[in-house]
Symmetry: C2
Subunit: 298 residues, 2 copies
């Protein structure tokens, strides 16, 4: 991560910080903004926005919006009433440092700013595209998307469980954010119905693969290794593919999802050079997913 | 409240409910939507939207958005880590029925839907107006508005206190939502700088008067009377004007704020018939504020 990276600069510049604001809220927002993780989603949105004809400023704004939605979801997921995590990105969770209420307010600040940035990114688009963008955000993040996934996630211990239920939750929750990452910028370009369907598949495979790799890491890794609270899925009976299937079948499932993602990406890149950035992202994803559980087990 | 009321119908229709969604989240959203309170803010936004040239559908959508932002703020304010309330609108709070996590997800569903409705309401407006609307929502609700007020509210017990600090918090928190209520729809019409400044004053006086009346009711009333958790501000050392000033000075302050609101409204209605709806709203506000602490004390 370099300060000269335009995405990193935009993430700092657009962060919902108010210089004269209350000190704890300001600190919680500043700390979350200063430790942004791998920026996988933001970089994808930036590349997709550029490839779809958004201006550089609009593509950067949209990338920040997606990253801020992600940041907010982590701040809230870590709360005692959700995952009750203590570590995130190798540091104490925001609610452990600033209290639960401040963590919630920081998440809301990121969410509100993200919506403002989405609106601004599509300000130059037609009315139809703007309305489609609003509907896309609501579909991916709202009560039929990420929020539904999180609601099912919280009630998993009361369910019959099973790999199928785990997959359904990951499709709503993790893949929901990947859908936003790829579909929202694609609205700005002349995307065909076939491309749209392929982008949905890519998001789904990537989201499921990511979540399954995370599940596997939770089972295999020790806390110090992953930089966040792990090993808790079994204790708390949280949805976890590796717990449902076992480690080796989970590894095979992840490999299949990565291959399915590669197939969907290949169909897109064959049709149009616009989607070439996906091939590189697919390779990075495959590397990352292959390494994560191995390094965690090491 | 009548089912034939177009605002009530729109609030039900636009609620962030997913028929196939997780049962607890659906129930929490449905219950909040079914018990909307007095709809003071939503009716003001509807009237302001109509007076500012928005289509009926856009004005209704914007009114729903403001109401949903308000609903979300109540769901979150009531949480154990915020006000730790047990009753809201005469019923157990959402987190007492469905758990804290579900109450937070319900609030997020309302917030996301509210942003979508704001965007849709301004879809027919010029680019400048659309960008101004995005900035207005962020200014009123973001880290320089309502969120900053709530952050200061939470830390009040650590502050030196005083009526001035209480007023500053109310100006950000309660008046912030009133500002959104009046300023956001006004963006759709040809609002002069003088009208804009007067609308800001009206929002400020109304917000401060509302909050001060609420503070007074908390001091004077018993829990059964107000339909929400009361009498706790003293115990928890929350910002409360009546606790800082005493009951009689607080009553005088409220009367002065109501009079200041009436003065700002009079200047607007003298200038243009567009603002006539504010005179009626001012009269209703004055009635409501006069009655609330009296009935609570009775």
């Amino acid at each position: 991560m370099h300060a000269s990276d335009p995405l990193v600069s935009a993430l700092i510049e657009n962060a919902p910080l108010h210089a004269k604001g209350e000190a704890h809220l300001r600190a919680a927002v500043a700390e979350a903004a200063a430790h942004p993780g791998g920026l996988v989603r933001a970089r994808l949105t930036l590349a997709a926005g550029r490839a779809s004809g958004l201006t550089e400023a609009a593509a950067l704004g949209l990338a920040c919006a997606v990253e801020y939605f992600h940041t907010a979801s982590l701040l809230l997921d870590d709360l005692p009433c959700m995952d009750d995590a203590t570590l995130r990105r190798g540091r104490p969770c925001a609610h452990r440092v600033h209290g639960e209420a401040t963590a919630i307010l920081a998440a809301l600040a990121f969410i509100n700013r993200a919506h403002a940035l989405c609106g601004a990114a599509f300000a130059g688009s037609t009315r139809d595209v703007r309305l489609a963008a609003l509907a896309c955000v609501d579909a991916c993040l709202g009560p039929a998307g990420l929020l539904d996934g999180q609601a099912h996630d919280l009630r998993f211990a009361e369910s019959a469980g099973g790999a199928r239920t785990v997959g359904r939750i990951a499709a709503l929750k993790t893949a929901g954010l990947f859908q936003l990452t790829l579909l929202l910028p694609a609205l700005a370009g002349p995307t065909t119905a076939a491309e749209w369907a392929a982008l949905r598949r890519v998001s789904l495979y990537w989201g499921l693969a990511y979540q399954a790799a995370d599940d596997l890491a939770d089972v295999l890794s020790a806390e110090a290794n992953a930089g966040k609270t792990t090993g808790r899925d079994r204790i708390r009976r949280r949805p976890n593919l590796a717990l449902e299937l076992g480690v080796s079948p989970a590894r095979r499932r992840i490999a299949r999802l990565v291959a399915q993602g590669a197939g969907a990406v290949a169909r897109l890149t064959t049709g149009s050079a616009r989607w070439n950035f996906l091939a590189e992202a697919q390779a990075r994803l495959a590397d990352r997913i292959r390494q994560a559980p191995l390094s965690a087990a090491a």
